[in-house]
Amino acid sequence: MPADYFPVLVHFIIVVGLAAAILGVSAWVGVRRPSREKLSPYECGIAPVGDARERFSVSFYLVGMLFILFDVEAAFLYPWAVVYRSLKWFGFFEMFMFIVVLFAGFVYIWKKGALDWSR
Protein backbone atom coordinates (compact mmCIF):
# COMPACT_ATOMS: atom_id res chain seq x y z
CA MET A 1 0.00 0.00 0.00
CA PRO A 2 1.31 3.50 -0.75
CA ALA A 3 2.42 4.96 2.59
CA ASP A 4 -0.01 7.89 2.15
CA TYR A 5 -2.87 5.57 2.95
CA PHE A 6 -1.58 4.44 6.31
CA PRO A 7 -2.96 7.53 8.11
CA VAL A 8 -6.32 6.94 6.41
CA LEU A 9 -6.37 3.45 7.90
CA VAL A 10 -5.55 4.81 11.36
CA HIS A 11 -8.22 7.49 10.99
CA PHE A 12 -10.78 4.90 9.85
CA ILE A 13 -10.10 2.60 12.81
CA ILE A 14 -10.39 5.48 15.29
CA VAL A 15 -13.65 6.74 13.76
CA VAL A 16 -15.15 3.24 13.80
CA GLY A 17 -14.10 2.86 17.43
CA LEU A 18 -15.60 6.24 18.28
CA ALA A 19 -18.94 5.41 16.64
CA ALA A 20 -19.06 2.03 18.38
CA ALA A 21 -18.19 3.58 21.74
CA ILE A 22 -20.88 6.25 21.38
CA LEU A 23 -23.55 3.69 20.47
CA GLY A 24 -22.42 1.39 23.27
CA VAL A 25 -22.45 4.07 25.97
CA SER A 26 -25.79 5.38 24.77
CA ALA A 27 -27.35 1.90 24.89
CA TRP A 28 -25.85 1.34 28.33
CA VAL A 29 -26.89 4.55 30.15
CA GLY A 30 -30.21 5.19 28.40
CA VAL A 31 -33.43 4.39 30.25
CA ARG A 32 -35.53 1.48 29.04
CA ARG A 33 -39.26 1.46 29.57
CA PRO A 34 -40.65 -0.31 26.51
CA SER A 35 -44.36 -0.67 25.87
CA ARG A 36 -46.20 -2.22 22.97
CA GLU A 37 -47.50 1.11 21.69
CA LYS A 38 -44.13 2.80 21.94
CA LEU A 39 -42.43 0.13 19.89
CA SER A 40 -44.98 0.04 17.08
CA PRO A 41 -44.15 1.84 13.81
CA TYR A 42 -44.89 5.57 13.87
CA GLU A 43 -48.02 6.40 11.94
CA CYS A 44 -49.16 9.73 13.36
CA GLY A 45 -50.90 8.08 16.28
CA ILE A 46 -53.14 5.84 14.20
CA ALA A 47 -52.86 2.07 14.42
CA PRO A 48 -50.45 0.97 11.66
CA VAL A 49 -52.20 -0.06 8.44
CA GLY A 50 -50.71 -2.89 6.43
CA ASP A 51 -47.02 -3.60 5.98
CA ALA A 52 -44.52 -0.87 5.18
CA ARG A 53 -42.60 -2.85 2.61
CA GLU A 54 -44.77 -2.26 -0.41
CA ARG A 55 -43.71 -1.97 -4.01
CA PHE A 56 -42.67 1.42 -5.26
CA SER A 57 -42.68 3.43 -8.45
CA VAL A 58 -40.44 2.10 -11.18
CA SER A 59 -38.97 5.60 -11.53
CA PHE A 60 -36.65 4.88 -8.60
CA TYR A 61 -35.24 1.92 -10.48
CA LEU A 62 -34.81 3.96 -13.63
CA VAL A 63 -32.99 6.72 -11.78
CA GLY A 64 -30.63 4.17 -10.21
CA MET A 65 -29.91 2.68 -13.62
CA LEU A 66 -29.24 6.02 -15.31
CA PHE A 67 -27.08 7.05 -12.37
CA ILE A 68 -24.78 4.06 -12.90
CA LEU A 69 -24.39 4.86 -16.59
CA PHE A 70 -23.54 8.50 -16.08
CA ASP A 71 -21.29 7.59 -13.17
CA VAL A 72 -19.27 5.37 -15.48
CA GLU A 73 -19.00 8.33 -17.83
CA ALA A 74 -17.70 10.49 -14.97
CA ALA A 75 -15.15 7.79 -14.12
CA PHE A 76 -13.69 8.28 -17.59
CA LEU A 77 -13.69 12.06 -17.24
CA TYR A 78 -11.28 12.20 -14.28
CA PRO A 79 -8.18 10.58 -15.81
CA TRP A 80 -8.93 12.53 -18.97
CA ALA A 81 -9.06 15.80 -17.03
CA VAL A 82 -5.75 15.03 -15.28
CA VAL A 83 -3.83 14.53 -18.54
CA TYR A 84 -5.89 17.03 -20.55
CA ARG A 85 -3.22 19.71 -20.81
CA SER A 86 -0.87 17.33 -22.57
CA LEU A 87 -3.54 16.00 -24.94
CA LYS A 88 -4.58 19.43 -26.27
CA TRP A 89 -6.95 19.42 -29.29
CA PHE A 90 -6.72 15.65 -29.63
CA GLY A 91 -8.11 15.29 -26.11
CA PHE A 92 -10.84 17.80 -26.85
CA PHE A 93 -12.18 15.97 -29.90
CA GLU A 94 -11.81 12.63 -28.19
CA MET A 95 -14.01 13.64 -25.31
CA PHE A 96 -16.31 15.67 -27.56
CA MET A 97 -17.20 12.50 -29.47
CA PHE A 98 -17.71 10.61 -26.22
CA ILE A 99 -19.96 13.23 -24.68
CA VAL A 100 -21.95 13.79 -27.88
CA VAL A 101 -22.84 10.08 -28.08
CA LEU A 102 -23.92 10.09 -24.44
CA PHE A 103 -25.77 13.34 -24.91
CA ALA A 104 -27.84 11.63 -27.60
CA GLY A 105 -28.83 9.08 -24.97
CA PHE A 106 -29.58 11.89 -22.56
CA VAL A 107 -31.88 13.61 -25.08
CA TYR A 108 -33.59 10.26 -25.68
CA ILE A 109 -34.41 9.67 -22.01
CA TRP A 110 -35.53 13.27 -21.69
CA LYS A 111 -37.91 12.96 -24.68
CA LYS A 112 -39.17 9.60 -23.43
CA GLY A 113 -40.19 11.32 -20.21
CA ALA A 114 -37.95 9.18 -18.05
CA LEU A 115 -36.90 12.30 -16.16
CA ASP A 116 -40.46 13.41 -15.35
CA TRP A 117 -41.47 12.57 -11.82
CA SER A 118 -44.94 14.06 -11.74
CA ARG A 119 -46.43 11.11 -13.63
Partner: protein
Protein backbone atom coordinates in the same frame (compact mmCIF):
# COMPACT_ATOMS: atom_id res chain seq x y z
CA UNK B 1 1.85 -5.34 4.62
CA UNK B 2 1.52 -9.08 4.21
CA UNK B 3 -0.57 -9.25 7.39
CA UNK B 4 -2.87 -6.57 6.02
CA UNK B 5 -3.25 -8.52 2.80
CA UNK B 6 -4.28 -11.69 4.62
CA UNK B 7 -6.74 -9.84 6.86
CA UNK B 8 -8.43 -8.05 3.96
CA UNK B 9 -8.40 -11.13 1.75
CA UNK B 10 -9.95 -13.11 4.60
CA UNK B 11 -12.67 -10.49 5.02
CA UNK B 12 -13.33 -10.60 1.27
CA UNK B 13 -13.71 -14.40 1.25
CA UNK B 14 -15.91 -14.49 4.35
CA UNK B 15 -18.13 -11.71 3.00
CA UNK B 16 -18.38 -13.53 -0.34
CA UNK B 17 -19.53 -16.67 1.47
CA UNK B 18 -22.04 -14.55 3.36
CA UNK B 19 -23.42 -13.20 0.04
CA UNK B 20 -24.35 -16.76 -0.93
CA UNK B 21 -25.45 -18.05 2.46
CA UNK B 22 -27.61 -15.17 3.72
CA UNK B 23 -31.34 -15.70 3.35
CA UNK B 24 -32.31 -12.03 3.59
CA UNK B 25 -31.54 -10.28 0.27
CA UNK B 26 -30.47 -7.01 1.92
CA UNK B 27 -27.88 -8.89 4.00
CA UNK B 28 -26.53 -10.48 0.84
CA UNK B 29 -26.29 -7.08 -0.83
CA UNK B 30 -24.49 -5.63 2.22
CA UNK B 31 -22.03 -8.52 2.17
CA UNK B 32 -21.39 -7.89 -1.51
CA UNK B 33 -20.61 -4.25 -0.70
CA UNK B 34 -18.06 -5.48 1.85
CA UNK B 35 -16.53 -7.77 -0.80
CA UNK B 36 -16.22 -4.90 -3.29
CA UNK B 37 -14.71 -2.53 -0.72
CA UNK B 38 -12.15 -5.13 0.39
CA UNK B 39 -11.24 -5.65 -3.26
CA UNK B 40 -10.60 -1.91 -3.43
CA UNK B 41 -8.22 -2.22 -0.45
CA UNK B 42 -6.48 -5.13 -2.19
CA UNK B 43 -5.97 -2.91 -5.24
CA UNK B 44 -4.49 -0.29 -2.92
CA UNK B 45 -2.08 -2.85 -1.52
CA UNK B 46 -0.56 -3.39 -4.94
CA UNK B 47 -0.40 0.37 -5.46
CA UNK B 48 -3.34 0.81 -7.83
CA UNK B 49 -4.89 3.76 -6.03
CA UNK B 50 -6.87 5.12 -8.95
CA UNK B 51 -8.42 1.72 -9.63
CA UNK B 52 -9.26 1.41 -5.93
CA UNK B 53 -11.24 4.66 -5.73
CA UNK B 54 -12.98 3.99 -9.04
CA UNK B 55 -13.87 0.51 -7.76
CA UNK B 56 -15.56 2.09 -4.75
CA UNK B 57 -17.26 4.86 -6.75
CA UNK B 58 -18.62 2.67 -9.55
CA UNK B 59 -19.20 -0.73 -7.93
CA UNK B 60 -19.85 -0.06 -4.25
CA UNK B 61 -21.28 3.43 -4.70
CA UNK B 62 -23.38 3.05 -7.85
CA UNK B 63 -24.09 -0.52 -8.90
CA UNK B 64 -24.77 -1.76 -5.38
CA UNK B 65 -27.03 1.24 -4.73
CA UNK B 66 -29.15 0.01 -7.63
CA UNK B 67 -29.13 -3.53 -6.17
CA UNK B 68 -30.30 -2.26 -2.78
CA UNK B 69 -32.94 -0.03 -4.40
CA UNK B 70 -34.28 -2.93 -6.46
CA UNK B 71 -34.41 -5.19 -3.40
CA UNK B 72 -36.40 -2.50 -1.62
CA UNK B 73 -38.60 -1.84 -4.65
CA UNK B 74 -39.49 -5.49 -5.16
CA UNK B 75 -39.99 -5.95 -1.44
CA UNK B 76 -37.80 -9.04 -1.50
CA UNK B 77 -38.33 -10.85 1.77
CA UNK B 78 -36.48 -13.54 3.61
CA UNK B 79 -36.00 -16.37 1.19
CA UNK B 80 -37.85 -19.55 2.21
CA UNK B 81 -36.34 -22.89 1.30
CA UNK B 82 -38.82 -24.24 -1.22
CA UNK B 83 -38.87 -27.40 -3.27
CA UNK B 84 -35.30 -27.92 -4.19
CA UNK B 85 -34.30 -30.10 -7.03
CA UNK B 86 -32.94 -33.46 -5.84
CA UNK B 87 -30.65 -33.54 -8.83
CA UNK B 88 -28.88 -30.34 -7.82
CA UNK B 89 -26.65 -31.68 -5.03
CA UNK B 90 -25.94 -34.86 -7.01
CA UNK B 91 -24.70 -32.88 -10.00
CA UNK B 92 -23.42 -29.90 -8.11
CA UNK B 93 -21.04 -31.58 -5.68
CA UNK B 94 -18.86 -33.33 -8.31
CA UNK B 95 -18.90 -30.21 -10.50
CA UNK B 96 -17.79 -28.10 -7.55
CA UNK B 97 -14.98 -30.55 -6.82
CA UNK B 98 -13.82 -30.45 -10.45
CA UNK B 99 -13.89 -26.67 -10.59
CA UNK B 100 -12.01 -26.31 -7.32
CA UNK B 101 -9.36 -28.78 -8.48
CA UNK B 102 -8.93 -26.91 -11.76
CA UNK B 103 -8.79 -23.61 -9.91
CA UNK B 104 -6.03 -24.76 -7.57
CA UNK B 105 -4.13 -26.37 -10.41
CA UNK B 106 -4.08 -23.12 -12.37
CA UNK B 107 -3.13 -21.06 -9.32
CA UNK B 108 -0.28 -23.37 -8.35
CA UNK B 109 0.95 -23.43 -11.92
CA UNK B 110 0.74 -19.69 -12.45
CA UNK B 111 2.16 -18.70 -9.08
CA UNK B 112 5.62 -17.20 -9.50
CA UNK B 113 8.28 -19.20 -7.73
CA UNK B 114 9.94 -17.41 -4.86
CA UNK B 115 8.39 -14.24 -3.52
CA UNK B 116 6.28 -11.24 -4.58
CA UNK B 117 8.92 -10.21 -7.10
CA UNK B 118 6.46 -10.20 -10.00
CA UNK B 119 4.19 -7.75 -8.17
CA UNK B 120 6.58 -4.87 -8.83
CA UNK B 121 4.71 -1.60 -8.27
CA UNK B 122 3.48 -0.17 -11.55
CA UNK B 123 2.73 3.49 -12.09
CA UNK B 124 -1.03 3.30 -11.88
CA UNK B 125 -1.93 6.84 -10.85
CA UNK B 126 -4.65 8.75 -12.68
CA UNK B 127 -2.12 10.45 -14.97
CA UNK B 128 -0.58 7.15 -16.09
CA UNK B 129 -3.98 5.57 -16.69
CA UNK B 130 -5.20 8.68 -18.49
CA UNK B 131 -2.13 8.66 -20.74
CA UNK B 132 -2.67 5.03 -21.68
CA UNK B 133 -6.41 5.27 -22.12
CA UNK B 134 -6.50 8.47 -24.13
CA UNK B 135 -3.44 7.89 -26.31
CA UNK B 136 -3.01 4.14 -26.87
CA UNK B 137 -6.55 2.88 -26.37
CA UNK B 138 -8.67 5.60 -27.94
CA UNK B 139 -10.89 3.24 -29.92
CA UNK B 140 -11.99 1.08 -26.97
CA UNK B 141 -12.71 4.28 -25.08
CA UNK B 142 -14.91 5.69 -27.86
CA UNK B 143 -16.67 2.34 -28.27
CA UNK B 144 -17.50 2.46 -24.56
CA UNK B 145 -19.67 5.50 -25.23
CA UNK B 146 -21.75 3.46 -27.67
CA UNK B 147 -21.99 0.69 -25.08
CA UNK B 148 -23.26 3.15 -22.47
CA UNK B 149 -25.70 4.57 -25.03
CA UNK B 150 -27.12 1.10 -25.66
CA UNK B 151 -27.40 0.56 -21.91
CA UNK B 152 -29.32 3.84 -21.56
CA UNK B 153 -31.79 2.72 -24.22
CA UNK B 154 -32.07 -0.66 -22.52
CA UNK B 155 -32.78 0.89 -19.13
CA UNK B 156 -35.61 3.00 -20.55
CA UNK B 157 -37.09 0.08 -22.49
CA UNK B 158 -36.97 -2.15 -19.41
CA UNK B 159 -38.65 0.47 -17.28
CA UNK B 160 -41.41 0.64 -19.94
CA UNK B 161 -41.85 4.37 -19.93
CA UNK B 162 -44.22 5.59 -22.63
CA UNK B 163 -43.99 2.46 -24.72
Amino acid sequence: MAALFYIVAGVAVLAALSVVLQRTPVYSALSLIVVLCSLAVLYLLIGAEFLAVIQVIVYAGAIMVLFVLVIMLLNARRETPGDRSRLAPLLGAPLLAVFLAEFFFVIVKQLPRGSESSAAPLDSGPAAIGGLLFRNYVLPFEVTSVLILVAILGAVVLAKKEL
